[in-house]
Amino acid sequence: MITYIIRRTLYMIPLLLIVSLLSFTLIKIMPGDYLTAARLNPQITQETLQRQIERYGLDKPFIIQYALWLKNIIVHGDFGFSFATKQPVFRNLFEGGRLFWTIVLALSTLILTWIFAIPLGIYSATHQYKPSDHALTFFGFLGLSIPNFFLALVLLWLLVVVFHVGGRGLGVGGLYDSRFLNAPMSWAKFVNLIWHLWPAWLVIGTSGMAGLIRLMRGSLLDTLSQPYVQTARSKGLAERVVVYKHAVRNAINPLVTVLGLTLPNLVSGSIVVAIVLNLPTVGRAYFSALQQQDEPVVMGSLLFFSLFLLIGNLLADFLLAWVDPRIRYD
């Protein structure tokens, strides 16, 4: 097992290299660069612009730029400096607790989604084709098909214009109300935080829930049609015991793989919601770097997201081996 994990970890290195080369190529193919907007400034002359181009190394050929970037990482452990803020790339990405909030948001959404989706999936499977089953499926797909940013905006609009939360002194968007921004942590501040986070949970969660519910439902239905379930029933076991003690444990197998993959999806997929709901996440720093074509930060973010994805994959495989005794890696 250990050798398997070590081997997988080593595989990550060439994978990340390929991802980095592809990303670099894509960024370079995009029209313009970080200094394009500066060219429209009537106050700057060509000489000054040229100095800036040299300063950022944008005049060197493509492969030299990539080689320099790679060399800095391997030899100095230096991922470069943001063109815009001159900070080291990962400080720019993670500052202000961005990494913390990204992980908190991803984990809390993951846990909440699962807490709701698994029981709902089980209910859906055990009440197959009943109206409640159809209703659950319908709402699941509704949450999946409404675009996240739109749902977030509508939610905020409802809170402000229909429910007039401003009148009760409650704000929308961001992590805290303005009055708590500079105040020390307290119970009231924590409650306020939950008030600001629940729209995010609702929006991100509903899109992920539909898939999970259907997956759980399908998997459980499959399991329930197995012969050993029939045996258990004929042994006289209560239906509840049959379902929860025997069937669900086996049905949950494929979902464990999904669990490992959901985490990186949450990290990189919540960018739009974070922008609308104003939550400080790594995705926002990445998006703003993309808009400005701040290449070092974009490369750093892509490496970060890819690493997360690879770790998520490894985690999924590991969990699968842990849960299912039939699966062993060598």
Binding site: M30, P31, G32, D33, T36, A37, A38, R39, L40, N41, P42, Q43, I44, T45, Q46, T48, R51, Q52, R55, F81, A84, T85, K86, Q87, R91, N92, E95, G96, R98, L153, L156, W157, V160, V161, V165, G166, G171, V172, G173, G174, L175, D177, S178, L181, N182, A183, P184, I275, V276, L277, N278, L279, P280, T281, R284, A285, S288, Q293
Partner: protein, 609 residues
């Protein structure tokens, strides 16, 4: 006991709120700048005196990129740094004219080649250190004019003959600037932000060889603890939470006061919430979380109906905001590869461009895109500028006696096109080139609702008269590429504006880097191009404003007739504010569309106190 004390100290350190700044002046400095708030007979007569206190909440779309005023490159940063670091001169809050700021006065010598600035005595930095000529010389000579430093203001200091002003210290409070030619616009550029020498000199390689060249570009970045920041302006940044908020606190040593002796600014704090999505900032405004909101045209139908009832006002100015929007037929189309020769000749024909100008339905643009709150433009200069040719004299009221207007007249446009031979020869319903070859026009702009709105109206008007025009949105960077490589057809964009006609030199001079409608004019200027170039030089070479005004009127009229950039409209709405924000009804005349640029944060106060 000791443990308890340590524990308390530790808790206080963690729990301490934003920075506490020093005490401030014991008495008002003798050279304090008094803003005549509420005084009759002054431009500030309509403002009210306020009381100190309170916090104002506004929103910004993006994070600042640093705290260094002289290496800042965009408005999200300069919004803060321009409030932390002021220069020798500045633009007046209400009139937009150049007035003394860090300097209390200046003299111009007889021959116009020497400027002498007198600094205010007794004023201090926010950390209590006195401000002297050393700080000004450091900021100008060692930072702005230093090519190691990545400073956007560098090129603006260049004189017409290519040399730079020489700034020298006469004494601690007197500075002399020597010019090699008379150059009035130097007053616009000399007001660079003055930074504290005692804090920053150590990072400039020229002054401290121990640090590598270019270190200054990485000084006072977002990594710097805000407690390190020292300024001479009304505000100092005291807290920064990325993607959340930036807090600025009153500088205890700011040297401006109101006539009642109250130190400005009135507000104790500004809290800027970073709200990336403008729909959300609109909601936050309606939720009373923000006090002032920069509005987009699409917000107007939502905000205007409820304005009085909900306790806020939408501020609309008499004159449009600074800046221009235009469309530009590319007069060098196909020049590089020798194609499209007939179309290029057509675009170069001023009568054709006149026909296009008669097809601009500015009224519809104002009604549909700007919700009725806009004004048409004909001049390259922003209407708020005292040099605007719509005035009869420098700084006079706008009468439009000198205006060159091409009225919306599709029939006339059709007539001009007919006379040029641009008629439908093959019977497909679209006008063709005089030789009979088909004529297609592509209008491009970037993905911006306002610009797309203008272009759709343009496309419709062109097609209504028989010109086969199509509108295509393209990526901003691709658009800029087309602009600079002369590969576009008709491009629609906008430029920022300003008071000073000379700031547009790069755009309107025949060899300017932004003379995108016809770069080839640099090698081959015609009579009008030469006269425009000449007028730019004449206008800049006199300190006599009335004389300069005459030159600039002719300049604007020539450009308007030349129709290189053909101007459209600009918005007149500024921002929405709650009525408890005093003095928010006066906006800066130099505000630009988007962002809270017009809000006079130094003069606003909380009426509820």
């Amino acid at each position: 006991m000791k443990k308890l004390a340590l524990l308390l100290a530790g808790l206080l350190a963690i729990a301490a709120p934003a920075l506490v700044l020093a005490q401030g002046y014991d008495v008002m400095p003798e050279d304090a700048r008094i803003l005549p708030i509420g005084q009759a007979g002054t431009p500030y007569a309509d403002l009210e005196l306020g009381k100190q206190g309170g916090t104002i909440y506004i929103s910004q779309i993006s994070n600042p990129k640093g705290w260094n005023a002289n290496t800042a490159h965009e408005t999200s940063t300069t919004w803060y740094t321009s409030r932390m670091n002021l220069g020798l001169v500045n633009l007046d809050h209400i009139t937009g004219a150049i007035v003394p700021d860090l300097a209390k006065s200046w003299d111009v010598s007889e021959d116009g080649l020497t400027l002498t600035f007198h600094l205010r005595r007794g004023i201090k930095w926010s950390d209590g250190t006195p401000i002297t000529a050393d700080d000004v010389l450091f900021s100008y000579n060692d930072v702005v004019l230093n090519t190691d430093v990545d400073c956007n203001s560098y090129d603006g200091q260049r004189l017409p003959d290519g040399t730079f002003p020489v700034m020298t210290k006469v004494d601690d409070y007197t500075i002399e600037v020597k010019l090699s030619v008379v150059y009035r616009p130097i007053l616009n550029s000399i007001g660079v932000p003055v930074q504290p020498k005692h804090k920053l000199a150590q990072y400039v390689h020229k002054l401290n060889p121990d640090v590598p060249a270019g270190t200054f570009n990485e000084t006072w970045t977002l990594d710097t603890p805000v407690s390190e920041l020292v300024g001479n302006g009304p505000w100092v940044v005291t807290d920064y939470k990325p993607d959340v908020s930036v807090t600025m606190t009153r500088n205890p040593y700011y040297y401006a006061y109101d006539p009642a002796g109250t130190q400005l600014p009135y507000y104790d704090e500004i809290v800027c919430l970073v709200v990336a999505n403008q729909d959300v900032s609109l909601l936050k405004f309606r939720n009373k979380e923000i006090d002032v909101l920069a509005i987009r045209p699409e917000d107007l139908p939502v905000l205007m109906p409820e304005a009085g009832a909900k306790g806020y006002t939408v501020l609309v100015s008499d004159l449009p905001l600074y800046g221009t929007t235009w469309f530009m037929p590319n007069q060098d189309i196909g020049l590089a590869d020798g194609t499209q020769n007939e179309k290029r000749e057509l675009y170069r024909n001023v009568k054709f461009r006149e026909a296009l100008a008669h097809l601009i339905d500015k009224e519809t643009m104002i009604q549909n895109v700007l919700n009725g709150l806009g004004a048409p433009q004909w001049s390259p200069l922003s209407m708020g500028s005292p040099f605007y040719a719509g005035r009869d004299y420098y700084g006079g009221p706008v009468t439009e006696n000198n205006a060159i207007i091409f009225e919306y007249d599709p029939a006339k446009a059709a007539g001009i096109l007919d006379s040029l031979g641009v008629v439908d020869k093959d019977g497909d319903g679209w006008r063709d080139l005089p030789s009979g070859a088909p004529l297609t026009i592509e209008i491009n702009t970037n993905d911006n609702t306002i610009r797309s709105g203008y272009c759709l109206i343009l496309q419709d008007d062109f097609r209504a008269v028989g010109l086969n025009a199509t509108f295509q949105v393209i990526d901003f960077n691709t658009l800029v590429d087309k602009l600079f490589s002369s590969t576009g057809d008709i491009i629609q964009l906008g430029l920022t504006g300003g008071d000073e006609p000379n700031s547009g030199k790069n755009v309107y001079h025949s060899c300017g880097s932004l003379h995108a409608y016809r770069y080839s004019a640099c090698d081959d200027p015609d009579e009008i191009d030469r006269r425009i170039d000449e007028l730019l030089d004449l206008g800049a070479s006199t300190f006599n404003l009335d004389e300069a005004f005459e030159y600039y009127v002719e300049y604007q009229q020539l450009l308007a007739k030349q129709l290189g950039y053909i101007y459209l409209v600009n918005q007149t709405f500024q921002y929405a504010y709650y009525d408890y924000v005093g003095n928010a009804g006066a906006a800066s005349p130099t505000s630009t569309p988007g962002g809270n640029n017009g809000l006079l944060t130094e003069l606003c106060f909380d009426k509820r106190i």
